[in-house]
């Protein structure tokens, strides 16, 4: 009887181990790829940020917190930081105002509705490189022909506006779709009740529509803010950060430390401080917006 018991528990143990092995085999491909592409680089990054590695050489020295200390001692970083914050705010406001306006205009039945929706949304299919190329051409040649002005990228005061316009054209469709989905979820009765109560279009918008789509605001504002603060491809391709650093965002700045200035260690330290900055901003903003959701 005793031996039977032992045999039984051994069999159970074997079955358990086998089912665990099966589970691990399901997880292994995804987890190992994830570790290779993100976890290992993340920890390598921590290590690099404590060294003076130049991005090419085999050997480098451990410098401790020196890189981090230097970030706070120089005012070179002020320009990209200013650019990033300025662009991020303009992008959030521009994208959400435009996306919500388009969504409101499209949230009715009319001929050409589906076609218009597609038109506002299809630029997302283009790569940032192509978008930047086409817009650089438009600014340079079409704007000159139509309005007789120089390219937006030729002046430090308008270059960021040029980046903003192409980014809005490329991305506004995504938020428009999110707002459109939220708007179509508003029950008809509520709008009708407001009309019966004599509320005009503007009052209906402020008192009925807005409170009901706060969840969409949370998603769209958080997404556009973090995307805007990370902006990389458009300025890099269109202007390379110029003219005179006018469009140099933090992401472009970090990229330059590896491939232009050969100061990978220092660039990596900036990258970590930048991540901390993004996390704090993202956390605060989504906290503020979520609180509004509960109240509404």
């Amino acid at each position: 009887m005793n031996t039977a018991n032992i045999e039984q528990s051994a069999a159970r143990r074997k079955r358990y181990l086998k089912s665990e092995a099966v589970k691990i085999s399901f997880l292994a491909p995804a987890i190992s790829l994830f570790i290779f592409a993100m976890v290992v680089p993340f920890f390598m990054g921590i290590h690099i940020s404590f060294t003076d590695w130049n991005g090419l050489a085999r050997d480098y020295n451990f410098v401790g917190l020196e890189n981090y200390r230097r970030v706070f001692r120089t005012d070179d970083i002020v320009i990209p930081l200013k650019n990033t914050v300025y662009y991020g705010l303009m992008y959030v406001v521009g994208n959400n105002v435009l996306a919500l306006s388009l969504a409101l205009a499209l949230n009715r039945a009319f001929r050409g509705r589906n076609f218009s929706r597609l038109v506002f949304f299809i630029p997302t299919a283009l790569s940032p490189v192509l978008t930047a190329f086409v817009f650089t051409f438009i600014y340079k040649n079409l704007f000159n022909q139509l309005f007789g002005i120089q390219s937006l990228f030729s002046s430090t005061s308008t270059a960021m506006l040029g980046i903003l316009i192409m980014a809005l054209w490329h991305n506004v469709g995504i938020n428009m779709l999110i707002y459109l989905a939220a708007l179509s979820g508003i029950p008809r009765e509520l709008t009708e009740a407001a009309i019966v109560d004599g509320a005009g279009a503007w009052r209906r918008f402020i008192n009925v529509t807005i409170p009901l789509i706060v969840p969409a605001f949370t998603v769209c504002i958080t997404l556009t803010l973090t995307a805007g603060l990370r902006e990389f491809a458009f300025p890099l391709v269109a202007t390379g950060g110029g003219p005179v650093r006018a469009t140099e965002t933090m992401s472009v700045y970090i990229y330059k430390f590896l491939f232009t200035y050969n100061k990978a260690g220092y660039g990596q330290a900036i990258a970590f401080l930048f991540m901390a900055f993004l996390l704090i901003v993202g956390f605060v903003v989504s906290r503020l917006l979520r609180r509004r959701e509960v109240e509404a």
Partner: protein, 276 residues
Amino acid sequence: MLTGKLNRWLINTVVFAAAAVFLVPFYISIVTSLKSRQEVAENVLAFPARFMFENYAKAIEVTKLATSFKNSVIVTLVSTALIVLTSAMAAYVIARNYERRSSRCIEVVLLAALMVPFQIIMIPVYKLLKSVLLLNNLTGAILILVGTSIPYCTFLLIGFIKTVPRELEESAIIDGAGPYRTFWIIVFPLLKPIVSVLTVLYVLWMWNDFNIALIVLQKEAVKTIPIQQFYFFGEFTIDLSLAFASACLSLIPIVTIFLLAQKYIIQGLTAGAIKG
């Protein structure tokens, strides 16, 4: 009543005008690609006097489109397949053992990874691939693209799998099917709604990837289309009609997929938002 009609008419006009403005870049790309060099200089908006289709033949040659096109197709297809299949397998185990602490632990790590901006791993990825001799190598690029895409893809799949009833799998196991067979024959087909959405989205994102390819694929033989164009547009801005011809050619496959799979793309992009 009359003002209502007028209002509606006014809004429609504004919408159509905005749509026309949104189409201008496409119009300019196509028209410019068919013009002679002189026509481009004369008038940007005008129609070409004669369609110069030979621009396209020349563009394919000058921009080495065949190589970059092949690279882009390989990277896009292999990455998308790996992302969706490996994520589905992992998400299945995590979702079906959700009561375990280890499952939720993995999910939290994946969520945290979504917060890490690309700039953090940009420099290390370069160093890592260099040290394992996968820099300027399509395999290296694919590994990084897949690994960085897995967190979001797995996260979405976990949420979906939780809503799929277990009965079918349980009866398959009782019928004697092994775990792998059960997953691929029974469970995976049930995931079709979300898998098709994810496949289309990742095809789009992989085809247009710029950040990772920029760091990892810098040699002529391995450049994908965005990288090839990044360097080409920088070098040869003199012959604009050729650049635009190459641009239009590279657009054809992705815009076709976009038009055909519109429904899935819209679903994918709004999925997370509606629930709120």
